[in-house]
Symmetry: C2
Subunit: 710 residues, 2 copies
């Protein structure tokens, strides 16, 4: 048994399983709930499955005999000190002293899981699990040496009561009523007032005949029986009135219910289905439009935060790595819910063998690594790194084996190079953006290798990442264009400059100061470089500009772009927004009239930008052990807000003359630009010259600092 | 799409799935039916799982519109020419002309499977399947190039009606009555007359209280409530009489039913559970004991031929590669049932990634390859080789990566080197037997690489196998001992000579003639070399002697060893038999009083020896396209028998003066030793000199040849 495994520190019993198995199977269920016009619409990549046979193990020491209750999902036996007890006991008594408990579980249809509850003995992530115990006995009855068995710490997810069977997990729901109803002859158009998600409930349904429910994120969509993206058909045969709840939850603001003459219906309501996560971050300011943008971003994110961070609630409802990566970042400034991040990370990764990129997309494989980098920085959770490291390694093996003869990533059959939805974007040859993401992924590998104590891995990945960054600049930096070019074809730089690699190189700090300033002009603020039309890449574009101190500009862009959607009546933010389009043109995508998602997670990025670049709070050591606060009003008169951290919150109240801060965690450094020397109680301050001051803050103290914004 | 895939030639619809998935999931169910004294007793190696999401594809051409019925296990959609039809249709109409049909199925709990039935369009192994279609569309609605999708031919197993749902597959049963009943006070001892397998049925059960069923392969075991290996406990609460069938089928000849005073019972019968395979081979001769041995071997094999070829029916009921390898060979002389061979091969192999040897045993990994070698030789079935080749390759990659610095197989943590149950058998260092099995496995790889057209693989595996054979003799042959030694430790030959590598080198033809004769004396007939006590290795020992022409000696051994078990009252052959033991000593193993299995597949080897080395029939080209018949009476006066082949049978009637043969398949060559020149109608004969004659026989003709045995 490997003694270097981290031992969890939960103090209450919880359901446990092989790490990732619950997540993978739940993701299979969730992703296969997608329908398109009544037709089952599954993903097009490999879905993995759970280990059907699992051994759970714990070495215990009890001062007195202890009665232990055992709950299991699956067939099982219990071994005490290597000896099987008869049958499948629901309760055992562990005698005083040191003992070894093993519970071996078989479950073909669901994930093998156990819940053990005694006075001091209970199931938590300190239990070890293995899917092959290799414990054979010889003909004389002697047991084999099982030192080769690979044990890992169990996975869990806060299912803390015996009745919360992991296999039965469902999100909670609550009833919501329509805000407007338009009745027709044998039809009803219902408006729920804003984008929503859940199960439609038909009340007082009676008679015999067919009934159809047409869902619409827009009124136009609900009214288009021919082209709406989702619908339900029902054969009604109710002699007396009853209520009917649809099988599948769906996304909509409007539903249009149409039914045959023999059918009657009293009313339509819905069961709103939501993830039970807690809002811990906040932001308000003097600009009502910005506040509204923040509120709608929050709601957009709420809707897309489900069992996992999904891309959009209407159409895919799938877990996409590039989309999830952004959701993780927004999450750190709103919910700080680690469980959903970990669950999504497991689900995306699946299991070995790897037969394709995550979601089939090369860039999405890289975002998966980057998400783990951020997770560690924000949460400081080493135990998850320990659990996921093997899967990181084998995925990186897959990636490295696919480099071309120049050591670069290039399209291979089966790969999808996505980058962004952008007309005519070339994916040919060696695309700079993919090399950049690989470099960052290798840095993540080096970091995590260090955490788990893989010295050889750490050195190897470090060298590879240094080489890849060097190559990126040697091969793609164009001195004349003052930019990284988009790609190389046949070993030659193409003429094309796109924003992607350039903007990431700013906030990854790959550029030096001179390059950053050059790229701001040559690329970011250069209208000749192809514009970005998705909130997805707007996220990074605006982040790059914020990293360059362009908060004033970004705030205007935010009001323009997200404000633009609000002016069109958006109640949640969209998959794509092109101000040049008109009317229902906004709803089409993928060659379909209502193909576009009007509630897409990547639309919620103001949550992240306002928290990280306006309130200006970010961790500088894992889990906010140290952090910086670099407030930037970006033209606002005042802003207030809270940023959640693993062990507390950081609250700010900022005007142009005063900064109030209270933190309950970590060592903070405020970076303040001021025309006068800031003043306040208990300040430890360093004057950096040029109007920049560093002020140290401790947890648990209220600071009020007066200054004068530059 | 890969056009080189073989297209099946079935002419009727059948249920189809991803090759191996049905087999793997069924094996999970079957192997986890083991209990030990009422306690669930699962395997200790990794169990794999099915792909939950599957795309089934077929390109069709129909002269007129065709109505097609669709049956699916799982949620699904149907695409015609790439366009999804609404809902999950149970019937579609395919218009006249060329069309592409895709059915995509999700099933978490069971294997995704379909059954399609139209006039000319129906599901069979010519359909293609993939677990990742990689078919994405861009923002304009354009579909991706899916040429990267890896399609393989579907798997199937003669489930030819829509109602035969693969997930519901169970073996058939038939009722059997007890042959003797001994009633006690609140107990009943039932004797079914011989070893059997199935579900105990309690008839006329009434009252309230506890009831126990103690199973015994021997009377002693059934009467030992304390030590019998399997039992059932039942809480009876029947106000009126009814019948109760036990949940799990078990192995026994005797059952002892004991019940509380409040419980009453009329009688006990059973439902015999069996595989519905057809007996096609036969053997009879003038020696009644040999005939009895053949009959009991047949019954032993019948009992162990279930969903898969299992090792023994009482205890493990697991699929062990070394045991299955022998069952395959017996099967070719009794049932010639390809389905059970393929099913067992898939189940043993499981899926990637490989994390341990098959059954955790190094030798058992090698037997898996050898089983495929034999399967191809006996059946000529290339399509299975095509389907399994990828899994052969990745398993061989695993093996080759585990060679030590000398390029030899040596124990690594997690490995079990089994070879045989034999007291004090050393597994240290580099064991010769494992190197020999690797050499043969590499030959199998080269053969199969040729079949699937993997030229690079073929050359590589061929070179590796030649090297390994060379090494075997360079490193282990001891000129003084005239034998291969058992092992090397620290680069030096050990003093130990065992039978294993020596006997295999005879029938693998690794030894030259001189070595074979030398080894016969120095090892096989040398009492100083540790004796073999399992029918498992007796199989190979006797095969080696037969290959050396020692049929007379082997017949005496057979009568002595298998006859010995019969004399002790065996109704099926055992896991181990040591004539030196007495009474109930025979029943113990693994440190347990009744640990030994009294019905073990490997006990049935006379089926194979009598068919291959007495009737003397074996294929010399795949699928019996060519075969030889080298009859050897081994001291018998006469023998009759039939050997099944893929496309017919070969029937023989042999005395010391006359040989009658009728074959319905292939080109046969009789190899006949005769003191006179054989005579008969239509003979094409070559006199090889020294009393050896080669006689060519054609299918469909009866030959009667007179000769005089040497």
């Amino acid at each position: 048994m490997n003694n270097t495994l981290s031992q969890g520190s939960l103090s209450a019993p919880t359901w446990i399983w092989y790490p990732g198995d619950f997540e993978i199977v739940l993701a299979n269920k969730v992703q296969n709930r997608r329908t398109e016009r009544g037709t089952f619409f599954p993903v097009f990549w490999k879905l993995d499955n759970h280990y059907v046979l699992m051994d759970f193990h714990k070495a215990v020491e009890v001062p007195a005999p202890e009665t232990v209750d055992i709950y299991v999902e699956g067939e099982y036996h219990v071994k005490l000190d290597g000896k099987a007890l008869e049958g499948s006991p629901k309760q055992i008594v562990v005698p005083a002293g040191k003992h070894k408990i093993n519970i071996k579980v078989f479950n073909q249809a669901n994930v093998p899981a156990i819940y053990v509850k005694g006075e001091t003995i209970f199931s938590d992530s300190s239990w070890l699990v293995t899917f092959e115990d290799k414990e054979w006995i010889d003909e004389t009855g002697k047991a084999s040496d099982i030192s080769a068995t690979k044990w890992v710490n169990a996975g869990s997810s806060d299912f803390n009561s015996p009745a919360q069977l992991p296999s039965q997990f469902m999100l909670p729901t609550k009833k919501q009523e329509a805000v407007a109803v338009t009745k027709g002859k044998q039809s009803m158009l219902i408006d729920f007032g804003k984008e929503t998600f859940g199960f439609i409930q038909l009340q007082g349904l009676v008679g015999k005949g067919n009934l159809s429910v047409y869902y619409g994120e827009s009124e136009a969509e609900a009214l288009s029986a021919e082209h709406c993206e989702t619908l339900d058909r029902l054969e009604v045969d109710n002699p007396s009135k009853n209520d009917h709840v649809m099988n599948l939850s769906k996304a909509y603001r409007f539903v249009h219910v149409q039914y045959d003459e023999g059918v009657m219906l009293d009313s339509v309501s819905m069961l709103y289905e939501y993830a039970d996560v807690k809002e811990r971050g906040s932001f308000t300011c003097d600009d009502a439009e910005v506040n509204r943008i923040y509120e709608v971003a929050k709601y957009t994110f709420e809707l897309n935060t489900r069992e996992f961070f999904i891309d959009g609630i209407k159409r895919d409802r799938w877990i996409w790595s590039g989309d999830a990566y952004q959701s993780y970042l927004m999450n750190y400034y709103l919910y700080f819910d680690n469980e959903t991040v970990k669950r999504t990370t497991y689900a995306l990764r699946g299991k070995d063998p790897i037969t394709g990129h995550i979601n089939t997309i090369m860039d999405y494989t890289f975002y998966w690594f980057l998400g783990i980098y951020d997770y560690y920085l924000y949460t400081g959770d080493r135990s998850f790194i320990t659990r996921i490291y093997d899967r990181m390694k084998s995925l990186m093996d897959y990636v490295l084996a696919r480099r071309n003869k120049n050591g670069l990533m290039e399209w291979l059959p089966g790969d999808w190079i996505f980058i962004d939805w952008a007309a005519g974007l070339s994916k040919k040859g060696e695309v700079s953006f993919e090399q950049l993401l690989l470099a960052r992924s290798l840095e993540t590998m080096a970091l995590c290798a260090d955490i788990v104590g893989d010295k050889e891995g750490s050195a190897g990945y470090n060298q590879l990442s240094v080489d890849m960054r060097k190559k990126l600049f040697e091969l793609y930096w164009n001195e004349q264009k003052q930019a990284l070019v988009h790609s190389r074809i046949n070993g030659t730089q193409t003429d094309n400059v796109t924003r992607y690699a350039n903007m990431f190189s700013i906030f990854f700090d790959y550029f030096n100061q001179q390059q950053k300033q050059a790229v701001k002009t040559s690329v970011l603020l250069n209208d000749k470089v192809q514009k970005i039309t998705t909130p997805y890449m707007r996220f990074y574009e605006l982040e790059a500009l914020c990293a360059l101190g362009e908060q004033d500009y970004v705030l205007r862009e935010m009001k323009d772009y997200w404000g633009g959607m609000l002016k069109l009546g958006a109640t949640s933010f969209w998959e794509e927004y092109n101000p040049a389009k008109k009317g229902t043109e906004h709803y089409s995508m993928y060659g379909r009239e209502f193909g576009k998602s009007l509630c897409h997670a990547w639309g919620a990025s103001p949550l992240y930008l306002l928290g990280k670049y306006y309130l200006g709070v970010k961790p500088t050591a894992p889990g906010y052990a140290r952090y910086t606060v670099e407030p930037n009003l970006g033209g606002l008169q005042w802003m207030k807000g809270t940023v959640p951290t693993p062990n507390g919150t950081i609250s700010l109240d900022v005007t142009r003359e005063q900064l109030k801060i209270r933190s309950t965690t970590g060592e903070g450094t405020i970076l303040l630009k001021s025309k006068v020397k800031p003043e306040g109680q208990q300040l430890t301050m360093t004057d950096k010259g040029n109007g920049l001051y560093e002020i140290q803050v401790k947890p648990g103290t209220d600071y009020t600092i007066t200054y004068k914004a530059n």
